[in-house]
């Protein structure tokens, strides 16, 4: 086991994928010479040259559409969109083109592209630079959606995403980039669509992804001190998500809490809840509680943002609530 930063793990995945497969290219705004706004693509230009590490103009709609066309013509583009908020400008390429091509062309037209983008708050970056919009993409048949929680799965999932024959939206958390975490000595690929059970428990299941996983783990630790055994599941892939693992855990615990940073209403947690309120109904011993952002744009002021984002306390409260221990 070594320690690696989340950002470095992503860089490593890009480097390894590019070294292995000459059809992998990276493109985006200021990703070449400048190494990316968060430094993730630093060094790639020197290693792979300007043909494969492409600095683009500020033309999100075009570069997303170009990734689709390039993917149809034999490349594997990895596109960086600087902040997830800017995916608003790429929706047509992703949703109407990339997502539908394989199906709509009758199985021709695989579109092996990855759109990498950071979501989330914590930087006082305000309402247009902090959003978590993954639920949009998870609703679109044809797109895969991935969101790693730490360096090891950031590496492993990105490798899978790049190798995948279909379009993948790969969501990073800007607050995690500088965080270190343990990784295996030999970095390994992690298949898409599989959740990881990070902590075993038998009283309550907490499902999470991305940066919120740390909150779930901390809350589980705190509950353990109170004698409540909490199982923590990291979804890793949001679409398709690992229903089997979540259902099996719920069958054991009977209680479910879902935690994410995105707005709670109509968010990813709603789908997990809804599936479990259907196929897992017989196992439910208490209400399913979601912990997410309130129905409000992400505020700028640091104190406001801190209250806005989910916290360990709110996860603990949710766990107590589903157990009827309020």
């Amino acid at each position: 086991m070594a320690d690696l930063r989340y950002g470095a793990a992503i860089s490593q995945a890009l480097t390894d994928a590019m070294a292995e497969d000459p059809s992998v290219i990276v493109m985006g705004e200021d990703i070449g010479g400048a190494g990316g706004s968060f430094g993730i693509t630093r060094g790639l230009l020197d290693k792979f040259g300007p043909e494969r590490v492409i600095d683009t103009p500020i033309s999100e709609a075009a570069i997303a559409g170009m990734a689709v066309g390039a993917a149809m013509s034999g490349l594997k583009p990895v596109l960086e969109i600087m902040f997830m908020d800017f995916v608003t400008l790429t929706m047509d390429a992703l949703v109407n083109q990339a997502a539908k091509a394989r199906f709509m062309f009758g199985g021709q037209g695989s579109v092996p592209m990855v759109l990498r983008t950071p979501h989330g708050g914590g930087l006082s970056a305000g309402p247009q630079h902090s959003q978590c919009l993954e639920a949009w993409f998870a609703h679109v048949p044809g797109l895969k959606v991935v969101c790693p929680s730490g360096p090891a799965n950031a590496y492993g999932l990105l490798r899978s995403a790049i190798a995948d024959p279909d379009p993948v939206v790969f969501i990073e958390h800007k607050g995690l980039y500088a965080k270190k975490g343990p990784v295996p000595d030999v970095l390994t690929v992690i298949p898409l669509g599989q959740a990881a059970t990070l902590r075993q428990g038998d009283r309550v299941t907490v499902v999470s992804y991305g940066a919120a996983v740390a909150l779930a783990l901390a809350a589980a630790g705190q509950m353990a001190d109170e004698g409540v055994s909490v199982e923590v599941i990291d979804l890793q892939t949001i679409q398709p998500w690992d229903e089997t693992v979540v259902l099996a855990s719920l069958a054991k615990t009977g209680h479910l809490v879902i935690v994410h940073e995105a707005v709670e209403a109509f968010g990813v947690g709603a789908e997990i809840t809804a599936r479990m309120a259907d196929i897992g109904f017989a196992h439910l011993s208490g209400p399913i509680i979601r912990v997410g952002a309130p129905f409000m744009p992400v505020p700028f002021a640091a104190e406001l943002e801190a209250r806005y984002r989910p916290s360990v306390e709110r996860v603990v409260t949710a766990i107590r609530k589903t157990l009827g221990k309020e």
Binding site: R52, I54, T56, P57, V68, G69, A70, M72, F103
Partner: protein
């Protein structure tokens, strides 16, 4: 306007190929018109009758491994690029043997095997797909180019600007082909577009030509000159082809908005026939061609009709792949 550098026999053979392609597209769409009216073809269909010379002319300068991105009005592009008639009709008739297995229909006919990256229901979207395809061609040093077809209404979309700029900056091997039929759905295109493409292209440093889009040789010649430069790495070029949309925006469009006295362009078939006449190809030869094409079209329709209908379950496997990572 016979091309230079080809000998007389080549020229004639080429002209005959053009004529056959023009007629194939025309006949296919005329049949679709009837099939639609009779309720056999569902959905929205946009016919390119009257505009066939653009597809045929441009495609004559392309190879199978060059790529094109098309529009909602994409039948001509698809057929001229080499999509088989049977797969084409089977698609529009919603059969499992359709090029898209009956899942896409008219607005999404595609055939990757001949570099036809799809008709498109989103106006302007093909611009960025073709630009990306051109990027792939360039990086792979394949010598191929990409072509984006779009209408004069599509000129209002931001992607024209974004892709024009990126293609010019990166000197991508792409030809932009504007099919200027004067209409943007139910509105005259000139009421929606404040600029002309000659000036626009100049501003971006994009090589520009204008051609009579009803004259297949004029289109072919202009396309060839531009494509030669594009293939040579000189960056993007734009070909504007003036033409007319003979039918409604889509089949079933009552066209109340359309002036009775609108001047239609010349018939691309007649223009081509006149060239052939000059080369001594007479009516009789043309009727033979026509009879053969009719037979091919009918055979394709019959085969499509006989094919099994589109299959629901198979679709799930093509939403995305569930790989082992």
């Amino acid at each position: 306007m016979p091309r230079q550098g080809a000998n007389a026999g080549d020229q004639l053979a080429q002209l005959l190929r053009h004529y056959e392609q023009l007629l194939t597209v025309r006949r296919c769409e005329e049949r679709l018109q009837r099939l639609f009216a009779e309720g056999e073809v569902p959905g929205f269909i946009h016919l390119s009758i009257g505009q066939e010379a653009i597809s045929v002319g441009v495609m004559s300068a392309l190879s199978d491994s060059d790529t094109i991105a098309s529009t909602h009005r994409g039948h001509g592009h698809a057929l001229a690029k080499g999509m088989p008639l049977e797969g084409f009709f089977a698609e529009l008739l919603a059969r499992d043997s359709g090029v898209c297995r009956g899942r896409g229909g008219s607005m999404h006919v595609a055939d990757m095997s001949v570099g036809m990256l799809g008709a498109n229901g989103i106006v302007g979207a093909g611009l960025s797909i073709a630009t990306g395809s051109a990027l792939a061609h360039k990086l792979k040093r394949s010598g191929n180019i990409a072509v984006s077809f779009f209408g004069d209404g599509a000129l209002a979309e931001g992607l024209l600007h974004e892709c024009g700029n990126v293609a010019a900056l990166m000197k991508l091997p792409i030809l932009l082909v504007c099919e200027a039929n004067g209409w943007s759905e139910f509105s005259p295109a000139d009421r929606q577009i404040a600029f002309n493409l000659a000036d626009w292209s100049k501003a971006y440093g994009i090589e520009y030509r204008k051609a009579d889009g009803n004259d297949v040789l004029a289109v072919a010649e202009a396309a060839e000159v531009l494509i030669h430069a594009v293939r040579d790495g000189e960056g993007p070029a734009l070909l504007e082809c003036t033409t007319s949309r003979w039918r409604g925006h889509f089949e079933g469009d009552a066209q109340k908005y359309r002036p009775q006295d609108e001047v239609q362009g010349r018939d691309p078939l007649e223009v081509a026939a006149a060239y052939l006449a000059r080369e001594g190809v007479g009516e009789q030869h043309l009727s033979q061609i026509s009879a053969r094409i009719d037979a091919e079209v009918e055979a394709a329709i019959a085969a499509a009709r006989a094919a099994p209908p589109a299959n629901y379950e198979s679709g799930f496997a093509d939403v995305y792949t569930l790989s082992a990572g």
